[in-house]
């Protein structure tokens, strides 16, 4: 099961006005020997509420350093804190590297890679391109990098340096949404039409072995559609998505009521797929079994408290969870329970599978 380890912050560097690159070093344990394109999940307590946030590693595998890029998100508690307060000498907690946004590398391979990055989506793509160019001396990499304007390009100088270091093997195309460029093609958004135009004159799409895409949802859809249209299949297209909806904003949870527990039955209300259903259930029955008995197609798999498929949130009342091998403390604090292990304690219980 996921475990957190301590990482010492050895450097915090601004790359643009609202993004920092944080260098980290494991304090005592944990295997942080990452693969290019992977991410770290951090946790931190903000006013009594634990927040978790995932950030991609931006360092190359051969650089011998662990670094993540953190772009400030409007209203994002963790990213604001990292950009304003985090400093060298601090300690962060993170899980070991995770993710499968990579393909295996071979020194003898001569492949052509194509990367698309939108804004801070550059972080894993940067790790991939640095690692690939170092590990496969005969391969080439083309990066299409979308940003709002020149000022918001993360790692701009570093990319220039890499272009000089890997002359002829690294091509970078900057596409800017609002700043006009010499070539019209490089202005605007990277969507299916833009890809089509790029594939006509600038990128030999037929020669591409693998494409990596990391950016906002609409951009990923447009690029993927265009790549498929130009003959790439699903095995050749690798995605990484950190949606803007990633839970990162602080929210106070509704307090559970303290009804006195006397009756043997409970008035239960269960919400699933937007529909709330109410029924009376026995207190010696699990919330999951009662829901299933009442013809609600509640999710479950192991019924043994180990898999967490049956997770739901208690909005009102209280339940007793007799076993829990899957939810972590912070989830329980937020009101999540394993419904296969939860028995009502109060006379009224409201649970929601949609949250």
């Amino acid at each position: 099961m996921a475990r957190f380890h301590q990482l010492a912050v050895t450097d915090v560097r601004k790359t643009i006005r609202d993004a920092v690159v944080v260098s980290l070093k494991p304090v005592n344990d944990g295997d942080f020997d990452f693969t290019q394109g992977q991410y770290l999940t951090f946790r931190r307590d903000f006013d009594g509420t634990e927040l978790r946030r995932s950030y991609s590693i931006c360092a190359g595998k051969t650089e011998g350093i662990l670094q993540v890029g953190i772009k400030r998100v409007e209203g994002g508690a963790f990213s604001s804190w990292a950009n304003e307060t985090l400093k060298t000498g601090d300690t962060l907690e993170a899980m070991e590297p995770m993710g499968s946004f990579f393909t295996p590398l071979e020194a003898s391979a001569a492949r052509n890679y194509l990367g698309f990055a939108g804004g801070s989506g550059i972080t894993p793509v940067l790790s991939i391109l640095k690692t690939t160019l170092a590990a496969e001396p005969h391969s080439s990499f083309t990066l299409v990098y979308a940003n709002r304007g020149v000022n918001s390009i993360m790692f701009r100088e570093e990319l220039e340096d890499l272009k000089n270091l890997y002359m002829g093997r690294l091509t970078i195309i900057h596409v800017l949404e609002s700043d006009a460029q010499d070539i019209d093609l490089f202005t605007g958004r990277v969507d299916a039409a833009k890809c089509k135009a790029l594939f006509e004159h600038w990128i030999d799409i037929a020669s591409i072995d693998t494409a990596f895409i990391c950016g906002p949802e609409p951009m990923m859809l447009g690029i993927a559609a265009s790549l498929r249209e130009h003959g790439l299949d699903d095995t050749q297209i690798k995605f990484e998505l950190f949606a803007s909806a990633q839970p990162g904003r602080l929210k106070r949870r509704a307090r559970a009521g303290d009804d006195a527990a006397a009756a043997k039955t409970t008035e239960a209300s269960v919400t699933l797929d937007g529909t709330a259903r109410s029924f009376t259930m026995d207190k010696d029955q699990t919330v999951l079994d009662a829901a299933l008995e009442n013809a609600i197609d509640a999710p479950f798999a192991c019924k043994a408290g180990v898999c967490s498929t049956c997770r739901c949130k208690v909005l009102e009342g209280e339940v007793e969870m007799v076993a829990n091998h899957a939810l972590e403390d912070y989830e329980v604090q937020q009101g999540y329970v394993l419904s296969c292990q939860s028995f009502p304690v109060t006379d009224r219980v409201v649970v929601d599978y949609d949250q």
Partner: protein, 251 residues
Amino acid sequence: MTEDMSIESYLSQGGKLTNPTNVPPRYRAELMKMMATFVDSELAGAAGFADVINAGPGIKERIAAAKIVLEKTDNADRVLRLLGEFGADTARYATSHPWTARLPRDAGPGTHRSEHDMRLSVLNYPLSGWTDAVVMNLCMGLAVGAQLAEMQKVSYQPLAEAIRKVAPVEARHVELAEEGLARLMEQGQSDAIAAALAYWRPRVAAIFGDVAGHRFEQLSAWGLRHQNNAALLQGWNDALNAALARLGVAA
């Protein structure tokens, strides 16, 4: 680059999700059910086949059976690791159910699942000897092939990738079954094969039970399903009939 798009709308347009951090709760639950069904079926299948190793009539057959047990367990592990990324306790999961438990042999075909795990219903029936096991492996292997082809298109990219690694291994198990059946046919076992086929065919067919229309719609809007069960069932019937024809077994 901060245009807003809901995850639902992204998924309905064929978008892929790539890690547990941003899957919506209901998507998470359905995805985990799907993964648990796969893991439980592989573990139950491997457990059932383990007992058959010693029934193999020769060393080649025993090697084939042992290989199937090993590789199905390995395939379960691949997907169980993904469940672990969602918080499942993988060590406890692997031993949380009696994977060898079966219904009585004469239990009628049906889609009823065991109360205790998510294995496909067919894996609740016991094998009865070598020929029976080989026939079951062919019928079920082809059904697994149809389901894995579907799962390779799933919108959760890490699962699609895991299944792409698993699918050729499972396809090889079907080849082993076909080779085994060819040998049994040479040995004049066609009556025993026909009896086993009559037992297993309806039980395997039952795993393609109906998914209610609205549920399938929801699952396909999330990119978790693409072809409906009727189409998968048809594909499986065709593949099985073709294999039986190659072997000279009456369908």
